[in-house]
């Protein structure tokens, strides 16, 4: 049974003559040309690519700050920068990585590109709003750049009061930039939610929706409900600085801890905005490269929603030593343990998918397996932090830093890289060098663990975070960690090079190089402007390898089972 059968007599794309946005049946990159066709595009795929470019640049900038921070920490005392500059650099590393890179990354880049295709739609529900989201993002970037030029901020990316109210830096411009970026996130969420509800093609029931789409849907829910609270929190902080209204100032009757509650009410759900899309990609990777449907597909879909909902209930675990009541700490600790369950379900189900599959050890699968490895560590170290008495010792130390880097970088970034390598042929029509991709992977994997395992040990031994300098007993761990950052950087640059090289020197990719049963592989590679030539009808699930035809699963290489991209005969 074909996954995607043309709907006879369907209205829509195929019947339009060429309009101002280009021939709907032409390949989307060729449908219209010139800079204006990009700046004013309504095509979700182009918008996705523009986002991809921007988040990649943001990752580069945030990564450079990270390398500089780690370089400074190589030795005690001043290594390359002074204390104030160091404080600004770690703040900027955090703010750029969180707000400019990771929150938009998967949804705005890959989600924009693939969500409509995966449900058989021509575009998202509100293409103009999609473009507006991108321009709002650019405005936010511009404001943040101004803030950096004006001296930037040294409060940490969390902007805790009273320091953020008192410090003489450009807090207002930075928080206003983040405020603006929040609207980009909200509008993307609105778009995705409405698209999934109203634009699924015939036959695309909720049960047949790919897990990537479930993940984007759950993420959209969080973006919609949580980000406005960040908006009001930042507005109050700006009002506090600018007008001295006193909400966070104890001398005027305010409460500094209230800021922490407001801030984390958004920022905890935000970490689920960061990880759920990564998990969503991972489901696709594991399924395709095991040639098998995800085990417990319904549970994995529901766990995305579970994380979205439960994620709103646990923000207090960031405040266990901040001065909350004992009752509150107990409640938040209990709920934090509850939120571990859906994550665990996903990890178990992915591992069970590999069992009795047919595993292709291609570069995206390396990232998929690395995700399970690294996210498991990240998630398990979260148990230490959810346990009240142990958290008292570990909070605000490097243990926390290592934990969140394992889940955010070892989780989301690894999945993002895997997703890029997986979908690069589909997006660009070019095939990349698998060997370089694998070399890059190993440098990334080894480098990442080298950076962050010493940080767990430093943290449990008592090294606090956000320290420009440290006691002598921690120096060896800092040195190992810094060397790891260089290995990691090599891996990331290699992977970026591999992807960019493909654009220039890559051979044309076949329609379905990985032999995946996913819906997106049923269209042209790269897709035409309206994704499908005729409105599709879905007649099977996205992972139903036993129902897909041989033609659908044909990789286009000469032999399935050889090295992808090989032309080896039987």
């Amino acid at each position: 049974m074909a996954a995607v059968a043309p709907h006879a007599g369907a209205v829509g794309a195929g019947h339009h003559a060429a309009d101002s946005h280009g021939d709907p049946d032409a390949m989307y990159l060729k449908a219209s040309r010139g800079i204006r066709s990009w700046l004013f595009t309504l095509d979700h795929k182009r918008i996705g690519l523009m986002y991809l470019t921007m988040v990649a640049l943001a990752f580069l900038v945030g990564g450079i700050f990270a390398l500089l921070v780690r370089l400074e920490l190589f030795s005690r005392g001043k290594t390359i920068i002074d204390g104030e500059t160091y404080n600004r650099f770690f703040t900027l590393h955090g703010a750029v990585m969180v707000f400019l890179f990771i929150i938009p990354s998967v949804p705005a880049a890959l989600g924009n590109f693939f969500l409509p295709i995966m449900i058989g739609a021509k575009d998202v529900a509100f293409p103009r709003l999609n473009l507006l989201s991108f321009y709002i993002y650019l405005c936010g970037v511009a404001i943040l750049l101004c803030s950096i030029i004006m001296g930037s901020v040294d409060t940490g990316w969390t902007f805790y009061t009273p320091y953020s109210v008192q410090t003489t830096n450009s807090v207002i411009s930075m928080t206003f930039g983040v405020f603006v970026l929040g609207f980009s996130s909200i509008l993307t969420g609105v778009n995705f939610l409405v698209t999934v509800h109203t634009m699924r093609a015939p036959g695309c029931t909720w049960g047949r929706m790919p897990l990537f789409v479930w993940g984007m849907y759950a993420t959209a829910l969080i973006q919609i409900l949580a980000t406005p609270v960040l908006a009001i929190t930042l507005l109050l902080l700006i009002a506090e600085r600018f007008l001295g209204i006193g909400v966070f100032d104890p001398k005027l009757g305010g409460d500094p801890v209230l800021f922490q509650h407001f801030f984390w009410f958004y920022s905890h759900p935000a970490v689920y905005i960061m990880i759920v899309p990564g998990m969503a990609i991972n489901s696709e990777l594991i399924a395709t490269f095991s040639r098998r449907a995800i085990f417990g597909q319904f549970a994995v879909a529901m766990s995305s929603l579970g994380l979205a909902i439960l994620g709103f209930l646990v923000w207090g675990h960031h405040l266990f030593v901040a001065g909350m009541s004992e009752f509150a700490t107990m409640l938040f600790s209990a709920l934090t343990f509850l939120v571990a369950i859906p994550s665990g379900v996903k990890v178990f189900n992915w591992t069970a998918t590999i069992y009795k599959g047919s595993i292709l050890w291609a570069s995206p699968m390396l990232y998929g397996m690395a995700f399970i490895f690294l996210f498991t560590i990240g998630g398990l170290t979260g148990l230490f932090l959810g346990t009240l008495s142990v958290d008292v010792h570990l909070t605000d130390t490097y243990f926390v830093v290592a934990h969140f880097h394992y889940v955010m970088m070892g989780g989301t970034v690894i999945a993002f890289l895997g997703g890029l390598l997986y979908w690069w042929p589909k997006m660009t029509g070019k095939w990349h060098d698998e060997f370089k991709a694998k070399v890059g992977f190993w440098f990334v994997f080894v480098g990442f663990n080298t950076v962050f395992i010493p940080q767990f040990i430093m943290g449990s031994r008592g090294m606090p975070r956000r320290y420009y300098d440290y006691l002598p007993q921690y120096e060896i761990f800092h040195r190992i960690s810094t060397v790891g950052s260089w290995i990691l950087a090599i891996g990331l640059f290699t992977t970026a090079y591999t992807l960019l090289e493909a654009l220039w020197k890559g051979k044309p990719a076949p329609r379905n190089p990985w032999g995946s049963a996913g819906y997106e592989w049923g269209t042209d590679t790269p897709p035409c402007l309206t994704n499908f030539h005729k409105t599709p009808v879905f007649t099977r699930g996205p992972y139903d390898y036993h129902l897909a035809t041989a033609e659908e699963l044909a990789t286009g290489w000469d032999e399935v089972g050889g090295e992808p991209g090989s032309k080896k005969k039987d």
């Binding site: 005392g77 449907a293 397996m369 230490f384 300098d469 006691l471």
Partner: protein, 351 residues
């Protein structure tokens, strides 16, 4: 269970408090549970990814369903998690509720230094406590968030401006450990008077040279756990020497009081605006002003005990001509005894 007072392990510092052993036990419970789960999951993943790798003649089996398995691995972890939560909460309650016989020490934090105020009123930048004695720290911050953290004790608590936070501990053996600030509170590259960039020292008891450019990372102090005798010696050395006279009803000798007054001249901040050399600063010099008659904005005034006292508590009462009315009040920040000691000191600064 770890032995109480266990030495440092690879992951954890030495145990120095009554709660350390329980915290460490729970830490290792979670650690080994995690190791087992990690090895099982990642081991299975790698093993099966190799065993079922794509090769000629091998086909993937369609995914089946196994609802009992799914339910099992959703429910089973709950028991372990509930246990972790329960033990963690129990331990936290133990840490939170100070025993009734706890000795109180006040902690004042500011950017970027700790001040510990002992029951006898003396203050120090180091924390000394007697061994086997519950100590309750009542903590306040003068400016921004700070956090009191001693790794060996396994205690940590934020200091929040505008409220008092408390933390308690009972140290189990004599020794020392570092006190760190665990909540980011800013920093400076050069000191307020343009001191040189910051250099760390190799003295483990004073790893950051005090007085230089400093910040969150250098807000370091030491905890000394001492025998009761050593503790008493310490407290006496920082206390007010006039106290022993007050308790027996005698008047404190002038030279003892003046000596303490000289210390207060520095620690209360008088030296910032008044010299003892005769040189003019923000305020008049103290040299030779005792019993002088000064011209003030409201007429002549003799510098006697009443005037010194009034000026400390209500500086704008009379402002000496030629100086601005910028002296802050010390009402609530200075005791009567301390005012007497400063008065004695001023008396001793003859022309």
């Amino acid at each position: 269970m770890n032995e109480p007072n266990a030495p440092p392990t690879f992951q954890l510092p030495e145990q120095m408090s009554t709660v350390s052993a329980d915290v460490d036990w729970l830490y290792y419970f979670i650690y080994w549970t995690s190791v087992v789960l990690f090895v099982a999951i990642v081991g299975a993943m790698i093993w099966w990814a190799i065993q079922y790798r794509e090769r000629k003649g091998h086909k993937a089996e369609p995914t089946g369903h196994n609802l009992p398995l799914e339910i099992a691995w959703t429910i089973a972890p709950i028991f372990i998690l509930v246990f972790m939560f329960h033990k963690g909460f129990q331990g936290y309650m133990d840490m939170d509720v100070a025993p009734a016989n706890a000795m109180e020490i006040r902690v004042n934090a500011k950017q970027w230094a700790w001040e510990f105020v002992y029951p006898n009123g003396g203050s120090s930048d180091e924390l000394h406590v007697p061994v086997h004695q519950p100590v309750k720290l009542v903590m306040a911050s003068a400016d921004v968030l700070h956090s009191f953290y001693v790794p060996a004790l396994r205690v940590k608590r934020d200091l929040v401006p505008g409220m008092f936070t408390t933390v308690w501990f009972e140290a189990t053996h004599v020794g020392h450990d570092d006190i760190a600030c665990a909540e980011y509170c800013g920093g400076r590259s050069s000191g307020p008077n343009g001191e040189l960039p910051y250099q760390p020292s190799d003295d483990p008891l004073h790893p950051y040279v005090a007085g230089q450019a400093t910040g969150h990372w250098a807000m370091h102090s030491m905890l000394y756990v001492e025998t009761p005798e050593d503790y008493q010696k310490f407290v006496k050395s920082i206390g007010d020497p006039c106290d022993q006279y007050a308790s027996s009803g005698k008047k404190c000798p002038a030279e003892v009081a003046a000596g303490q007054g000289a210390k207060l001249y520095q620690s209360k901040g008088c030296a910032a605006c008044h010299t003892t050399t005769g040189a003019r600063l923000v305020g008049p010099s103290w040299k030779g002003i005792w019993n002088k008659t000064e011209e003030t904005d409201k007429g002549p005034m003799k510098v006697d005990e009443q005037y010194v006292r009034r000026s400390i508590l209500d500086p704008n009462f009379r402002v000496v001509n030629g100086y601005q009315a910028v002296m802050p009040t010390f009402l609530g920040q200075i005791s009567d005894g301390e005012i007497d000691e400063i008065t004695e000191y001023i008396k001793s600064l003859k022309e």
